[in-house]
Symmetry: D2
Subunit: 272 residues, 4 copies
């Protein structure tokens, strides 16, 4: 069953992240990574380390607004290995039982852009579909919960069914996708209903292999961001957030400029 | 409420068709019209006339398989007016109460191609959506009736919401269209469920202006073609069929090759 | 360099076709095959055999207009193997040096539909692109030759770059595809320029593995169909035609209705 | 001929902006406007005024990074009129003759996101097309100039050819669009070639009516943003910038949440 953020007392969760990424470069390549755990919101990075082999000049910088971190580096042909380890504690506040829909006029300025369509979330194209499916419900939490349920019930989770270019529209049409597509569709339906929404990526434990980064989404209700996961694949309180963004293009764990191929990936997480 | 073909004793309906089309040509233009009432199936053309102004050489020929008629002509710049009048009698057999789904193996050879996707009916792309929406029902009539109901309940009939290039996929995404789009979506869902389906165009009386050609669809059940109309705009027993085809590209009332503009259109029909 | 149909004296080519197809069926499946060599046009089937294992009732029938043959059969779960062998002689007439563009008004009635867009060949959507690229050339052969050259020079032949749902529009956008996509794009550009065009599939020898069915296209010029191949992968005079159709949906070598998987394919051809 | 940014000594241009927008509201509506001239970059707002009828509470705030201004207001059913007037001086520095391509590794962090595809600028989908068209040129200015020329030569400027949902991909396919589409395509090709690019909207004088907001684009070369206009409709040195953003969704002059209709628009500009 789809999962929503926990709903009771303050919960503390401490997790160990151990993320290894290997690349083979056939030519010089620039990388933009987002693999650092967010140090902010309800999350504290207690300890972390980053190993890059071969040792290379690199830069870690934080987004000025949302504080998530980027790693930039330039590498020459050959092998490249990254290993990021972190101990992260989340302190999860309870969500009030029925967070209110925030009328447009009351949205904070900096949240307004989370109502707009983006590359992967064509909320303009799916506007009428969202309206047909969810407008009979009370604006806000009831709609988002219905969106999560609809996605869970009507979409097939199927590895290989989507590609790097698959958008919410595509996923909605083909009725299949992976976590990223489920999250994009959630974001898209929310925005179409005038509920600000954004994509969240992070480390999450899965019962079933293979290990992978996880994508979920946040909707803005009751004047705060609330996490939702339409896949129900991993408990939301175990998620270690890397970043949130408009859609997957904003928060890709790796963006490559050059002829490089990922040869292995192991973004592991375990309770600490 | 959506309409389906009548379901009782033999019905006879005689209609008077009076169709006027006007064009302005800014250059030499070739026309391919399909405006002649079909003389075949349950329909008999008792009397007809065609006036073309200015008088021009033209050719009327019939499709070798389905017998619908085409009118071809080449016209020079200036005004062109067509007027087609016909008296047509339909003799509508009752449909058996529950026509059976025809297994693929039992379909006639010449019907097989009505299972394939076409320009406007991407049944391959909407396959999983069709399955999610209708596969819990008994194959055949129950599904087609559910398709008609779904389209009627979930699509907005909205003039101007679609264009010449709008396909079933587009209409499904935008949840709006005109009769052509409704029919294309019906055809598409049927094909995705392995029920042969095709588009039907004809003359139909509407309560509300403006007069226009009508598009509905046929599904192949119980070893025959059965008419359905998801718009519910016009009684099916009053339809005078022009042609059936794979989709609207096959049965457009006018295909133009040249710089011509339609200046008025009045495809009228009335009980005789 | 792209190949066009031969241009001199009558050529005779005799080929041996040996096509083996293997399937694994996880449930009952209906098949519609098009693997028989065409017996007609410039081609004569001197000898042929079809072996189906296990032995199953099946039907071979010919398209009433174009004469290509279909094989229909229904199979139960398990293995299914087909082997089609044929000895085929082509007698290729020379093409006149510059076959004339046929004005719309002079096209035979039965060719008209080859001007229309289809599922894989959206000539309506690529109309202006075709016009921008090719309208400065004399209508007809010069344009088709320029189309073949443009495709050859501007598209990457790349196995895996396209899928079952890839259309000419998609291929044009991504500038990559396989023989089917190259042929669809050729068909599309031709139709957009008011030159009737259709897809042709057949057996063809390739220098490089893997063996596969081949797709090329035909344009209607000088009141006849002329073959073109934008891939330049195989000499056109060695092609053994299976069928021609509106696009790949019409002439797929196998259309499956059921949970079957092709486990191997070897459509071999060699000079006899 | 397409225009590029001026290339000589410092130029000063002072313009008078007088922008009137009228709406009819059939229900309560929230508005997000971007009509204020940018006070920053090479541009100084010497004087400005904003009149809203009826007088309504509203908020003007600036983007924290790029400094362009938003106007938010909530209005009840009825008429709404905005009038924004400003006196704006630009001081345009000469562009060095051949600004260098900036390697990815040398791009400022805050510019990196201008390499990513967005809702209207699918640089991922047009990557290979960009490569085929422009990769033979030296990276940087030569490519951007070739992009501007290609768009100018290969796209039809045609009012009504595009809609609110038209993207760079759509415009590229249909080979037609308006200034927004031309700019989106410029942005898209640049990003595909690893040149950061963004959309710029502003007030611009046109020789031909109707007056409208103008959209152009900026490419990041020589460690600065340089303006380009593929339409050639208005001299770039007369543009009064409102905002720059990822694409038109970021910098729409008006985003409406509610049943309102624009009844007239006059974004006038004249030399002061």
């Amino acid at each position: 069953m789809p999962d929503t953020a926990p709903n009771s007392a303050v919960i503390e969760r401490t997790s160990e992240v151990d993320c290894a990424l290997d690349y083979r470069l056939d030519g010089p390549t620039d990388f933009l990574f987002q693999i650092h755990a967010l140090d902010g919101m309800d999350q504290e990075v207690l300890r972390e380390s980053l190993d890059i082999v071969p040792a290379l000049p690199h830069r870690v910088y934080a987004d000025p607004t949302l504080n998530h971190r980027f790693l930039r580096l330039h590498a020459e042909p050959g092998e490249l290995t990254l290993r990021y380890r972190a101990l992260v504690r989340r302190r999860i506040e309870p969500i009030e039982p029925d967070p209110a829909f925030v009328p447009i006029a009351d949205l904070p300025d900096q949240v307004m852009h989370n109502l707009m369509p983006t590359r992967y979330c064509e909320s303009d194209l799916l506007g009428r579909a969202a309206y047909k499916l969810f407008s009979h419900l009370a604006p806000g939490m009831a709609q988002v919960q219905a969106i999560v349920d609809w996605i869970h019930d009507n979409m097939d989770y199927q590895i290989g069914s989507s590609q790097n270019t698959t958008t919410a529209r595509d996923a909605y049409l083909q009725r299949a996708g992976v976590c990223r597509d489920f999250a994009h569709l959630g974001v898209t339906f929310c925005r179409a209903l005038n509920i600000p929404a954004r994509l969240v990526v992070g480390y999450a434990p899965f019962d079933e292999p293979p290990p992978d980064f996880h994508a979920v989404f946040e909707a803005y209700l009751g004047q705060r961001w609330i996490l939702f996961d339409a896949t129900g694949m991993s408990p939301l309180d175990r998620l270690v957030r890397i970043a949130s963004g408009r859609d997957a293009k904003d928060v890709a764990f790796a963006t490559l400029f050059g002829p490089a191929t990922m040869t292995s990936m192991a973004p592991l997480i375990s309770p600490a």
